[in-house]
């Protein structure tokens, strides 16, 4: 009999890392399908291309670090990063853009810090932010949703040519791309909310931005499935969405031309639901205790609203998540749970005087 010296935790979850990662990918499927239906084949092509790069980078780094390549690839974490990046990037992001972002995410944001479990920042979000600050013009090439008058959905071949321009074809980006609903609301300074909804095609959805609302609802469904399978607890998503709701209620600024948009608009626009269920729930770069997760999520929600309402970027989830990633160790320090049978730790307070 082998006596293995073990330290806590002695009880582990039933799910292995690779199983959890597979579940996350499965849960992202409805979001991917709706995005493809709404914005054409671009995201789908990007997903395959980004997955190839992510797996290639992961294998390369594992080789460089003299680690077993197959073991690293089998935990599927590189593929999850690839899925998140593909869903976050604009559908027609050119091949070199995704190449840079994905390789940076895997090699620098994940493996330079020690690989899965050691990275202080969410790799997919680091890749996204790198691209956002480096190539701002290419990161706003969002397409109008299917059914927008005056626009046609791109065919598979057209999308392929847009992503890999050397395959021929010359698309005029200005003619096929359109500002997203979030951009429209931020740039607006003259129209009231109801006028915006009536005149601007991007805002002509049933509840919120056209197309985006269904994408977000699909992510919400996937997230609820993960919650049901106990892949993560409810704290971080509830924290983020709750904070976003409170912020958009308090700072809505009426429904005139100064408005920052309704609560439902913020919940169902941009990357809100993708962030709430697939990104702030990252077990590595987020806070670890339940109370900590609640605070972490709330911080992300507040920052998302602040950047959306008063910032200068198309969406805010990536920046908000990175900023809160930085704060996660501090949150953990102050929210350490009480050990069973012990008094509350007096962390962060002055030591009691010697008696």
């Amino acid at each position: 009999m082998a006596l293995i010296r073990q330290t806590s935790p002695h009880t582990r979850g039933a799910e292995t890392t690779s199983r959890v990662m597979q579940l996350v990918m499965l849960a992202a499927l409805p979001g991917l399908l709706v995005t493809t239906a709404m914005f054409g084949w671009g995201t789908f092509i990007n997903l395959i291309w980004i997955s190839l790069i992510a797996v290639g980078s992961e294998a390369l780094v594992a080789r460089l670090r003299k680690r077993p390549v197959a073991f690293y690839l089998r935990d599927y974490s590189a593929l999850v990063t690839a899925v998140l990046l593909a869903l976050a990037l604009p559908p027609l992001a050119p091949w070199w853009l995704t190449l840079i972002g994905t390789a940076f995410a895997i090699i620098v944001a994940k493996h330079l810090y020690g690989g899965l479990g050691q990275n202080p920042f969410n790799p997919a979000m680091v890749g996204y932010v790198l691209l956002l600050i480096s190539f701002p013009a290419d990161m706003v090439n969002w397409l109008p949703a299917a059914g927008t008058p005056g626009y046609e959905t791109l065919s598979f071949g057209q999308s392929l040519q847009a992503i890999f321009p050397f395959l021929g074809g010359n698309l005029d980006y200005d003619a096929i791309t359109m500002a997203t609903a979030l951009d429209v609301v931020r740039e607006n300074s003259s129209l009231t909310w109801s006028e915006l909804q009536a005149t601007n095609a991007a805002l002509g959805g049933t509840f919120a931005g056209k197309g985006w609302e269904w994408v977000n609802i699909a992510y919400l469904a996937g997230g609820l499935f993960l919650l049901y399978r106990k892949v993560f607890t409810w704290h971080a998503p509830v924290g983020m969405l709750g904070a976003l709701i409170v912020m958009s209620l308090v700072f809505k600024n009426g429904s005139g031309s100064d408005t920052h948009g309704t609560v439902l608009f913020h919940l169902l626009s941009g990357a809100t639901m993708l962030g709430a269920f697939f990104i702030v729930t990252d077990p590595v770069s987020g806070a670890t205790s339940n109370r900590g997760r609640l605070i972490f999520g709330a911080g992300v929600g507040i920052l998302v609203y602040v950047i959306r309402a008063w910032g200068g970027y198309p969406d805010a989830v990536a920046f908000a998540v990175l900023l809160m990633n930085m704060a996660a160790p501090t949150i953990d320090y102050y929210t350490q749970p009480r050990t069973y049978g012990h008094k509350k730790p007096r962390k962060g307070l002055a030591k009691p005087e010697d008696r």
Binding site: I100, I133, S134, F135, P136
Partner: protein, 239 residues
Amino acid sequence: MASPTPEAREITLNGLWNNNPALVQLLGLCPLLGVSNSVVNALGLGLATILVLAGSNLVVSLIRHQVNDAIRLPVFVMVIAALTTCVELLMQAFTYELYQILGIFIPLIVTNCSILGRADAFASKHPPGAAVLDGLMMGAGFALVLVVLGALRESIGQGTLFANMHLLFGPVAKSWSVVLVQDYKQFLFAILPPGAFFFMGLLIAVKNIVDNRISEAKKATQDKPSTGSKRVRVTGTVS
């Protein structure tokens, strides 16, 4: 004055590699990261730093017996500030455009920790000759890292190399600019401050790799059993 003055070879090696102000001491990072976005900016600040560093080391070494220990730091800072002002005036006279681009970083040479550090740690304890050499070599080590960082960031960020060198060397240098990639899309990350930290980290990593290789190679040659020995080994294993 207690430590013996090191030899010229050692001073040179220390400044350029073993004790490089930018890669090992990590001093003066503010200007290093701030202006290393192109070769011309990097070289301009690097030359200015060499001048100030060598000059301040010389002056500090000359007055080292007269300065009271208690007030040595303010005195050194005054010396450095005076020399920085000289360099600033020189740059205003001869390379005015570059002076405008580098802006606040030229007066900020005063606060470059590596200069005060060398004045206190080396120049105030050693004769003028060694002090000047130390200043030159430390400055050269700093400038070298600055230029390499500038070249990396300029080529990756803008796809050019040696652009605008005429700001430093006059009209002759106008043709030095090399366009590495035609129609290059600017990679802003490399030009912005985060890129400076990133490439600086890579440079430090490369230096550590090289150092590890060198020490491993040294170890290997030391461990090698001497082939000239005629004694027969009867116990143990030959590795």
